[in-house]
C-alpha cells in the first residue's frame, strides 16, 4: 500500500497579498489582484521580510519562495525546529524561467562596464534551482533538493514529484513549491511578441471575450508529510495530496493538443492514482489561462476525463484573480485548492460574464459558492496545469475531514 501524504503547512506570496490566507479569502470575496493588466506582488517589499544579505544574494523569484516557505513551515509548526531527521526532509522549488531580472541586470553591466565587472553572484542568483537552494539552506533541509522546470506546469510537477518522493520512501517530508518573478522589460517583451498576453489586460478564463493571459508573479509553498509521521507528532492536517498524473502532448511548442487527449489522460491518471472516480470529484481548480486555445482544450480534456460528471462539477480559475504565475502557478493553485477544500468555499472565476457557446461547463460565475458534500466523506478536488512545451499535469487533493 502506498504511503499517504498530508499537507501540514501552506505559504504564499501573490498579487492578493503576502500570506496564504489572503489568497483564498480575497479571491472568494471577489477581489482581483490584477492592476493595470499586471499581477504584481505590490505588497511584497523584500527588505521587510529578509536580511540585507538575503536580499542582495537572491533574485526576486527566490526571495518570494523564501518568504512563502517561512510561512508554510510556521503553519506546520516547524519554526522552532525540524520534526524529522533533516536528511529525510526533501525540498523542491519549481520555476518556469528562473532569475530573469538578474540576467537582464548583469547583461547591462557586461555591456556598459565590460565582462570583468559581471557579478560573481550572477549565476547563483539566476540559476533555476536557486530558490530550492535558498529554501533548503534557510531551514537546514538536507534530503533530496532540486528545482523543476516545465514552464507553466513546473509548480504542479513539483508537488507531484514531492508526493512520489514521500510515497517511495525517499523522504518523510518535503517542502515543495514554485516561484516566479518575470515582470521585467524583457519578460514582457518576450511574452508580448508571442501574442500570449491579453491586449486588454483582463484575465477572464472561459469567457467568450478572453484574449490572452495576464502575467503575474509570486510563490506558493506547501509542507508535505508522510501521514503516519504527521499523526504521530500530532500535526494539524490541512488536506492530502492524493493523486498525480502527467503526460505530454508531443504536438506543438506552444499550442495545446486541440482534442485534449493527452491532457485528459493526465487527469485520468491522477484520479486513478487517488482511487477516485469522476462521481467523487467536488471541484476543479482549472489551469484556465484566459487564452482562446487553453480554455477550449482544457474544457475538452475535462469532458473526456470526467464524462457526464464534467457538467456537474464546479470549475474555477485562480488566474482570474491573480493572473498567470507561470512556474509558480501550479504551486500557488495547489495552495488555493487546499484552502478551498478546507474552507468548503469555492471562489468564482472572476470576470466570467459572457459564456462561450463552445465551453459549456460550470465555471462558477459571479460569486463564491459553498462546497456541498452529501455523505460526510472528505471533499475532493482536481488541480490542472498545462504548459508551453506540451506538459500536462493533474493533481488530486482531498480535504481534511470536518
Amino acid at each position: 500500500m502506498k504511503r499517504r501524504v498530508v499537507i501540514t503547512g501552506l505559504g504564499a506570496v501573490t498579487p492578493l497579498g503576502v500570506r496564504a490566507a489572503s489568497l483564498h479569502a480575497r479571491w472568494a470575496a471577489g477581489t482581483c489582484g490584477i492592476v493595470d493588466g499586471v499581477g504584481a506582488c505590490s505588497d511584497f517589499e523584500p527588505k521587510d521580510f529578509l536580511s540585507i544579505k538575503e536580499v542582495r544574494r537572491l533574485d526576486r523569484f527566490s526571495q518570494l519562495a523564501l518568504v512563502a516557505s517561512e510561512e508554510a513551515l510556521g503553519e506546520a509548526g516547524w519554526a522552532d525546529g525540524l520534526p524529522y531527521d533533516p536528511l529525510r526532509i526533501g525540498c523542491i522549488i519549481a520555476t518556469g524561467i528562473g532569475g530573469i531580472e538578474t540576467v537582464e541586470n548583469q547583461h547591462d553591466v557586461m555591456r556598459d562596464k565590460g565582462a570583468k565587472m559581471v557579478s560573481p553572484l550572477g549565476i547563483p542568483q539566476y540559476m533555476p534551482n536557486a530558490a530550492a537552494a535558498a529554501v533548503s539552506m534557510k531551514h537546514g533541509l538536507q534530503g533530496q533538493m532540486y528545482g523543476i522546470v516545465s514552464a507553466c506546469a513546473s509548480g504542479a510537477h513539483a508537488v507531484g514529484s514531492a508526493l512520489r518522493m514521500i510515497q517511495y520512501g525517499d523522504a518523510d517530508a518535503v517542502v515543495v513549491g514554485g516561484a516566479e518573478a518575470t515582470l521585467t522589460v524583457f519578460g514582457f517583451a518576450c511574452f508580448n511578441s508571442m501574442q500570449a498576453l491579453s491586449p486588454t489586460g483582463i484575465s477572464r478564463p472561459f469567457d467568450l471575450r478572453r484574449d490572452g493571459f495576464v502575467m503575474g508573479e509570486g510563490a506558493g509553498v506547501l509542507v508535505l508529510e508522510e501521514a503516519e509521521a504527521a499523526a504521530a507528532r500530532g500535526a494539524a492536517v490541512l488536506g492530502e495530496v492524493a493523486g498525480y498524473g502527467s503526460t505530454s502532448d508531443a504536438h506543438h511548442l506552444t499550442a495545446p493538443e486541440p482534442t485534449g487527449g493527452p491532457a485528459s489522460r493526465a487527469i485520468e491518471l491522477a484520479l486513478a492514482d487517488a482511487g477516485v472516480t469522476p462521481d467523487g470529484v467536488d471541484y476543479v481548480n482549472a489551469h484556465g489561462t484566459s487564452t482562446q486555445l487553453n480554455d477550449a482544450a482544457e474544457t475538452k480534456a475535462l469532458k473526456r476525463a470526467l464524462g457526464p460528471d464534467a457538467k456537474r462539477i464546479p470549475i474555477s480559475s485562480t488566474k482570474s484573480a491573480i493572473g498567470h504565475l507561470l512556474g509558480a502557478a501550479g504551486a500557488v493553485e495547489s495552495v488555493a485548492t487546499v484552502q478551498t477544500l478546507a474552507a468548503r468555499l469555492i471562489p468564482p472565476t472572476l470576470g466570467y460574464e459572457v459564456p462561450d457557446p463552445e465551453l459549456d461547463l460550470d465555471y462558477v460565475p459571479g460569486r463564491a459558492r459553498e462546497l456541498a458534500l452529501d455523505n460526510g466523506r472528505p471533499p475532493v478536488a482536481i488541480s490542472n496545469s498545462f504548459a508551453f512545451g506540451g506538459h500536462n499535469v493533474s493533481l488530486v487533493f482531498k480535504g481534511a475531514r470536518a
Binding site: K53, R56, K116, P120
Partner: protein
C-alpha cells in the same frame, strides 16, 4: 593623480562591506571576514568595486591571503600608491 589615503580606502571598503549585509558598527580594521560572514563571492565583488574605483586589480590569490578588514585596506592602499 592625487594620492589615495588609507582613510579614504577605509571609508570606501567599510561602505562596500556594509552594503553586503554586516552591521556597519561591526566592520572594524580588526574584524575578520569570517566574523562578518563575508565569503569569497563577497570578496570578488569587493575587488570589482576597488578596481572600478581605484584601478587596482586584485586577483584571486591576493584575496585568499586577506583575513581582516585591515588586511584589505592595507593591500588596496599599497597597490594604489
Amino acid at each position: 593623480m592625487s594620492t589615495i589615503t588609507s582613510e579614504q580606502v577605509e571609508a570606501r571598503v567599510v561602505e562596500a562591506l556594509a552594503s553586503f549585509g554586516p552591521d556597519a558598527a561591526a566592520i572594524t580594521r580588526e574584524a575578520t571576514f569570517e566574523e562578518l560572514d563575508i565569503d569569497s563571492l563577497d570578496l570578488v565583488e569587493l575587488a570589482q568595486i576597488v578596481e572600478d574605483e581605484y584601478g587596482v586589480v586584485l586577483k584571486g590569490e591576493d584575496m585568499k591571503e586577506l583575513k581582516t578588514v585591515g588586511d584589505a585596506i592595507d593591500l588596496i592602499t599599497s597597490r594604489a600608491a
